[in-house]
Symmetry: C2
Subunit: 592 residues, 2 copies
Amino acid sequence: MPSYKAPVGDMSFLLNDVFKIEQYSNLAGFGDMNAEMVEAILGEAAKICEEQLQPLNLPGDQEGCKRKADGSVTTPKGFKECFRSFVEGGWLGLSADPDFGGQGLPYTLAAAVNEFSSAANMAFSMYPGLTAGAIAAIQVHGSPEQKAAFLPKMIAGTWSGTMNLTEPHCGTDLGQLRTKAAPKADGSYAITGTKIFISAGEQDITENIIHLVLARIEGAPEGVKGISLFIVPKFVLDKDGNPGTRNGVACGSIEHKMGIHANSTCVMNFDGATGYLIGEANKGLNAMFVMMNEARLGVAVQGLAQSEVAYQNAVAYAKDRIQGRALTGPKAPEKAADPIIVHPDVRRTLLTVRAFNEGARAFVIWSALKSDLAHRSEDAKERETNEEMLGLLTPVLKGFLTDRGFDNCVMAQQMFGGHGYIEEWGMSQFVRDARIAMIYEGANGIQALDLVGRKLPRKGGAALMALFGEVGGFLKDNAADEGMKPFVAPLQASANHMQQASMWLMQNGMTNPDNAGAASVDYMHLFGLLALGYMWALQAKVALAKGDDEAMKTKLTLARFYMERVLPETGLRLQRIQAGAGTVMSLPADVF
Amino acid sequence: MPSYKAPVGDMSFLLNDVFKIEQYSNLAGFGDMNAEMVEAILGEAAKICEEQLQPLNLPGDQEGCKRKADGSVTTPKGFKECFRSFVEGGWLGLSADPDFGGQGLPYTLAAAVNEFSSAANMAFSMYPGLTAGAIAAIQVHGSPEQKAAFLPKMIAGTWSGTMNLTEPHCGTDLGQLRTKAAPKADGSYAITGTKIFISAGEQDITENIIHLVLARIEGAPEGVKGISLFIVPKFVLDKDGNPGTRNGVACGSIEHKMGIHANSTCVMNFDGATGYLIGEANKGLNAMFVMMNEARLGVAVQGLAQSEVAYQNAVAYAKDRIQGRALTGPKAPEKAADPIIVHPDVRRTLLTVRAFNEGARAFVIWSALKSDLAHRSEDAKERETNEEMLGLLTPVLKGFLTDRGFDNCVMAQQMFGGHGYIEEWGMSQFVRDARIAMIYEGANGIQALDLVGRKLPRKGGAALMALFGEVGGFLKDNAADEGMKPFVAPLQASANHMQQASMWLMQNGMTNPDNAGAASVDYMHLFGLLALGYMWALQAKVALAKGDDEAMKTKLTLARFYMERVLPETGLRLQRIQAGAGTVMSLPADVF
């Protein structure tokens, strides 16, 4: 059976030592954030994730969700009770508005806890995760009445939330969306259409399910400018605000998927279901986009989380499995063979995964702090610059962390040899579960296009310039620091690659957008590699200052490993970007 | 439902135009090999693979194998009949000895057909594939009586074969093997022990199953020098050579795996089963190793095959799925959106996969011809140099082609967005099935170690030197060819990387073997990248000479794509290799 231990120590190191969360005490919800408080909260989160969520992960995968003929869906054994525990611990509403029962703590802390819960049980954590997303949407766009009606029950986990965007013929291209909303006399709408890939669309965990649904009001403009967002409860609320009559929305089927078996992925049929417009008519996509950054950061965290839990299990196996001898002579001569962790290639693999994990974790926390600043700062300028920066980082977080997270799960699985392929060992599940994170919430190719096509050029490239300024400043400040030498030079080289790539994109992507498209995924990875390089340099700086206890020495070794073996990939990415779209676009479609 | 069309045209191009199979007419079995014959055989193979094997692939995955309480195992519906068709078509015994009913055709042709059958139905093709492996072992090591007793029925597919190596505590490290062989008065042995991960160990397809089993004769030396190989039939043959009494070998359970569900992966319990020594006592590993090159080439082909079928389905989807508009303006203005194949990133992805497929296919055929030369040449020196070269190439074929083949399946799956994650679309199966090829027949990390630790230094590095000689000669011969310029320069650059890496290994791997271990996987990939680069240069040369029909123009575009975007990775691999083992080995095991 696989196991999991939440990385409380590393998370505390990041929050307290590297990013110094105490300095943000002027932000709402950050007032009590000191080292002790952070560790106490993370410790409690670790406890429920390790003790309650994780043990349900493998059985949940094996049992899966089941749909009955009446359209009801049962989740795996224990999920309902675990969900109750989770919400009663306050974890669902950790950063939600205290006026509606939330804890109002930093979003950054919620992102940290999100890593733990996703690592412990990704399929489970999607139930509260999607609910938190729906809460955020209603919080920002809902009327006071809508907030009062829905938020307290959702934050308490009595009701859950879902997102209904995709239709059979449209995923990425929401302009083709067909679900209709017909105005009714009472101001509500009758929603009719079919949505697919609706995670947690139906389940037996909560009393009511609050669907957020994109639909087109009759007579609305075509394309994305005619899409509105609606609240469609599974049970329409009665006059006391309790679940009343069953609404015209039902689960038509559930998907047989590669992974996240324990999360129900539903086809949802809306048949004149009562829906309530949320936000402005025809501005539904804007409403969705507000949540997009956090939702995508949430998926990025899933990539990291699966990589972390896969790493932990691979390490345990590599220490336990004895097979062959070290190349330099027996290390455990008293045994029939050495544990496979003596082998350089096993270590190279494990270090590749771990250097990603600890770099990516820093990247997530660094970015989440920007999200808190973007939403909670009292300085409008600070809100804006952080919002812009977060917008730039979001596709990189989502695309890079989930691509690499998946690759890492595959590498960790490989450490198990044949046992990695057997389901009961659990490694296959990490791979299968991690796979979806590259696809949903905007497939990674779309993230890359969002990065080069929208985020990069916004406001004359101000966010990218600010990032270069920050990294450049760090490099300058540390140029003379002898201890930082192994980190400054490689980071500088990769920052140069990124600058050349950005320049190339500006010069060649404008004249021919296919050049930008052909470069997009390589640019996203170049960006991610550099971002993690910067995160490692920041961590190395702190580790050097904290002196040479074992943990800090390990940090420095990991930082060196990242610089020596991972970061140099930026050069290759630059080369590919500069190859341009010529060859890529030169074949007629029919010869593919 | 996924589909498959065997690449008969590309295979014929390789066999006839690039590698000119006619020139080998002096080798046994090659006499009739001309372009028409090659195409006729490939066409027939394509037919059975497309029409009979492929339709069973997805249903076979969903149904899987089932073990009953009596230890019998049922394969999915249709497998038994399909197997009959396959063997009656002569495909199992394509390159087997005509004296025992085989067709005696080139192994190269069998490798080509193996790609088709693996692509059409990997789990199915393992039943004949493992039988062919067992046939080869008996052919080389069996006594005349053993050959006469087993080969005709196995080549006819009336009986099947399996390989029993792995035990619960030993996979890679066969020195730890515990299965016992106790001599009996009649010259046979009583075999007792447990084997795991035995593919096709039990099934309902054939009348008898001929297990080849590694075991230790009582009193044999410890370690790998005390291992012998035995034939253990499921039913002991009666005096007429027909299946008689049930032997003491049974399937204890079957594994619940990530993929290849339709191939039974068995725990085999041997309880005093009657076994017959094959080859010399205590030389069992040598006997196994003789088959190793071909078995590993077979697995390499699985990586290519899954990549090919995944590519084909991704292309079909990319042409069919309309979503969004081309960056340069609508390409299908009459439709609601453009097919996604208009997007540079979709094309980049598809071309990455296809440039691999057609390069890897050439690499397989080039290598398979060396196998034929190694076994069928009448010139002892030619046999030896080809055997040595094949030995060098084998770990690269197995490791590189299966690593990349899997990655390619993931990329092809990604083209489907959410649909790629749904099992009924079939893309998940290609990913799940391809995953095992990186693990079995020696995990890819072991292949890399075999490459740098054993194959590279053999005979003073003669095989590598010969390879450098061949590639260097080609580069020199084509240096002045204007049309070859886009291919010669990048290939030269990567050949230099490979030379530097090899030099580095020689200088640093001797003094500290951990340097070789830490470099091994990067070196294997560098080697594979260069090998495919050479294959693309060879194909480009022929394509240029054949003039500019559409297929040849496509070849040249793919060659350019490979040179521009794939091959440059050799520089990164070199950089990683030269990073050495220092950082990799510097952490104590307990901080992992």
